[in-house]
């Protein structure tokens, strides 16, 4: 969870100890004992709702347990079961393909929108920001249901295709083996692009205006200035956007659950959906936890890679 947090600005702890009441406190960056009462509420919430469930999941993954009967030690059986599960390979592949739609496309679109509306204060910029960010605010269950109707046999998408003379290509997009995953992914693109844009615009605003001026005096046009001045300044924001959206692609559940439920015939199965089925349909808490642990490792690997690629000194 903490991977998404930006690195703490470095100079601050030093300044704090200079002017703080405990000027003689130990090395900068260390928390004195007096800080604990202030930290305690947050620590309790974090331990209770993040650390404890995570540790419990790890513990359950080694048990044979249906949620009621006394659990029995299962060793690595659950892990053997989930890695040999025939549906899992396809589900992980699907999740990786979703990264294209949840991460790559939204970052690209976010950059384009940033190039178009950042920089100069244009009339209506706030309006566009709100419109593009709106999908982030809507609950995914409502988003999924609405898109399911739009994609249906006589939904808006097909009616539009009919109106522009492409009626032959109309189909039930989420019901077709070949198009379901892409159709699902594009809903993710629609949701995530606004988030990326808002992150990038705020990043672009931090870029020193003098740099833009200097580049302009040297004869750089708007495109050149975006690529050479704005884009390098957005490295950190792109990293954060990449982390958030990749987690959504790999660990996402609600959107798939309400649109296709993994169908047709498993074409849009994702790991989180299999975790849900194991736990709540089959009542196999052990195997569900083991799969959740595998999924967590997968997410950690990808997030680690993204952090490595977007480091300031990379």
């Amino acid at each position: 969870m903490s991977e998404g947090a930006p690195a703490a600005p470095r100079p601050r702890p030093a300044r704090r100890s200079e002017r703080g009441p405990r000027a003689g406190s130990p090395r900068p960056g260390r928390v004195g004992t007096g800080a604990w009462p202030y930290l305690l509420p947050a620590v309790l919430v974090y331990v209770g709702f993040a650390v404890y469930p995570a540790v419990s999941t790890l513990q359950f993954s080694f048990l044979d347990w249906d949620g009621v009967a006394p659990p029995a030690w299962a060793g690595v059986d659950n892990f053997l079961r989930v890695v040999t599960e025939p549906l899992l390979g396809r589900a992980i592949l699907n999740a990786l393909l979703l990264i294209v739609f949840f991460t790559v496309l939204p970052i690209a679109l976010g950059l384009v929108m940033t190039a178009l509306i950042a920089g100069r204060a244009r009339r209506g910029a706030a309006f566009y920001r709100v419109v593009f960010f709106l999908p982030q605010v809507l609950p995914l269950v409502a988003v999924g249901t609405t898109w399911r109707w739009m994609y249906s046999e006589d939904g808006m998408v097909n009616r539009f295709l009919g109106a522009v003379g492409l009626g032959d290509h109309a189909r039930a997009w989420l019901g077709d083996e070949n198009t379901a995953l892409a159709a699902l992914g594009l809903i993710g693109t629609w949701c995530m692009s606004g988030l990326c844009m808002v992150l990038f615009i705020s990043g672009a605003q931090k870029v020193d205006a003098a740099l833009h001026e200097a580049a302009a005096i040297d004869g750089a046009g708007p495109a050149r200035r975006f690529l050479s001045v704005t884009l390098p300044g957005l490295r950190k924001e792109i990293g954060i956007a990449g982390v958030i959206t990749t987690i959504a692609a790999l660990a996402g559940f609600d959107l798939v659950f309400v649109t296709t439920d993994g169908g047709p015939a498993g074409a849009t199965n994702v790991p989180a959906l299999l975790v849900y089925r194991l736990a709540f349909n089959e009542g196999d808490i052990g195997a569900a936890s083991a799969l959740a642990v595998v999924l967590t490792v997968l997410v950690a690997v990808f997030v680690g890679a993204i952090r490595l690629l977007t480091r300031e000194d990379a």
């Binding site: 249906d66 949620g67 009621v68 399911r148 989420l174 379901a180 047709p264 709540f280 349909n281």
Partner: protein
């Protein structure tokens, strides 16, 4: 929470049909309403000294919550039966064995035996259909075929078909008029309900029951089940099924049928109230017909049933509630709530589509032909049935592969 590894004693010391006059408070956990609240109100009117506290959970979360609450130190006295949850709770001894009360009250005569059958099992809950009684039905449902009379008239089809072959011819006639013959919500349960309705009339009833109940050696890889699957794919290839079936939820398919988007829809009586409200006199119902039309009627159905905690302080009062569910008065409440009553006589003749459903249902109960849905077989079966039928519809899975995947799941559970 899990202090003991010994099975709780689930048999009460004694069973009495008399209800105390002292004030008693029972707690009841449930997911389905209607009919639960109306039935509880009816019961407490008869026994004013009994107060029932209702604890409702959304259906989706019910399996999990009922498992936790029934295994806690302070469980509800009565809980709505759920096969997935009870499969864990019965072996733990947390659900009361109702055999003594069933005998004292004579429930075998009071309730249709095909409705009690799925609620019987052994101590390990490995095999259903026989053994001790663990719950009692408070209302039933039945699967069949709804049709749009107006669209059928346009296609020159005169009323319900007498045989399966005739039904197929009718589908073709409708297809010729350019209307989608058969709606199906294959995104959810609608797809496998169609296969199930075909299997009911093509297969041997006992073979199917054995498989759903988990009898040793049972299999779904039968010629009849394959024939049912082949019929479904043949209809799909012929264009009888709605095109976007795999992306349509059950509500989507129902709404589409109500709006005249398809001529037939295979679903249960639960859709009747909404359909007759929207379509008025233009909707009808029949049971899926068999190959000769003279077979005893068989149809899948489920029940909203109630089980008692083995730790309840008031086993006799809880049992009195279960007994009330089989009374004519309770059956009237069930029928009014849109369910099939456990006493078919209480449904009355009814008008229009309700009358047709009541008549069909009475035939099924009379012939003891009510069978459980196939997802009842194992907790994970629904995750094989829905994608499996989607694969048949999309043409990416063969009939043999579909049945083999069901059998594989069955054997995982019953090995």
């Amino acid at each position: 929470m899990l202090s003991t590894s010994v099975r709780e004693d689930d048999t009460p010391d004694s069973a009495s049909t008399s209800v105390t006059g002292e004030p008693v408070t029972l707690r009841l956990a449930y997911a389905d309403d209607p009919p639960t609240k109306a039935l509880v109100d009816g019961f407490t009117r008869r026994h004013p000294n009994v107060t029932v506290e209702l604890e409702r959970t959304q259906f989706r979360d019910y399996v999990t919550t009922v498992k936790l609450s029934m295994s806690s130190d302070d469980p509800p006295d009565i809980a709505q039966y759920n096969p997935g949850a009870m499969g864990s709770l019965i072996p733990a001894g947390l659900i009361m064995n109702l055999d003594l009360h069933a005998e004292a009250y004579g429930w075998q005569e009071e309730f249709p035996s095909s409705a009690l059958e799925p609620l019987r099992t052994g101590e390990d809950a490995g095999e259903y259909g026989s053994g001790s009684l663990y719950a009692v039905p408070g209302s039933l449902s039945v699967l069949g075929v709804f049709f749009n009379t107006e669209l059928l008239e346009e296609a020159g089809v005169d009323g319900p078909p007498a045989t399966l072959e005739e039904f197929e011819q009718d589908l073709e006639r409708v297809e010729d008029t350019g209307t989608t013959p058969l709606g199906a919500g294959a995104l959810e349960v609608g797809g496998f309900h169609l296969w199930n309705a075909l299997l009911n009339v093509l297969g041997d009833q006992q073979d199917y029951r054995d498989w759903v109940y988990g009898s040793p050696g049972a299999t779904i890889e039968t010629a009849a089940a394959e024939r049912a699957a082949r019929t479904l794919t043949r209809w799909e290839r012929a264009g009888y099924l709605s095109e976007g079936a795999n992306a349509a939820s059950d509500m989507d398919a129902q709404a589409d049928f109500a709006a005249g988007g398809s001529a037939y829809l295979v679903t249960g009586n639960w859709a009747a109230a909404a359909l007759s409200e929207e379509m008025g006199q233009d909707v009808g119902f029949f049971l899926m017909p068999g190959p000769t039309g003279r077979e005893p009627p068989v149809a899948s159905g489920s029940s909203v049933s109630y089980a008692v905690s083995s730790r309840t302080g008031h086993p006799d009062v809880a049992a009195a509630f279960l007994d009330y569910l089989g009374t004519y008065e309770a059956a009237r409440i069930q029928a009014r709530s849109g369910f099939m009553p456990v006493d078919p006589a209480a449904a009355g003749a009814g008008e229009g589509v309700m009358g047709q459903i009541n008549a069909g249902f009475a035939e099924v109960i009379e012939a003891e032909g009510l069978v459980p849905f196939p997802d009842y077989a194992t907790p994970g079966m629904i995750d094989r049935l829905t994608p499996g039928v989607q694969g048949l519809v999309a043409g990416v899975r063969t009939e043999e592969e579909f049945l083999a995947s069901l059998q594989e799941e069955w054997e995982d559970e019953h090995e």
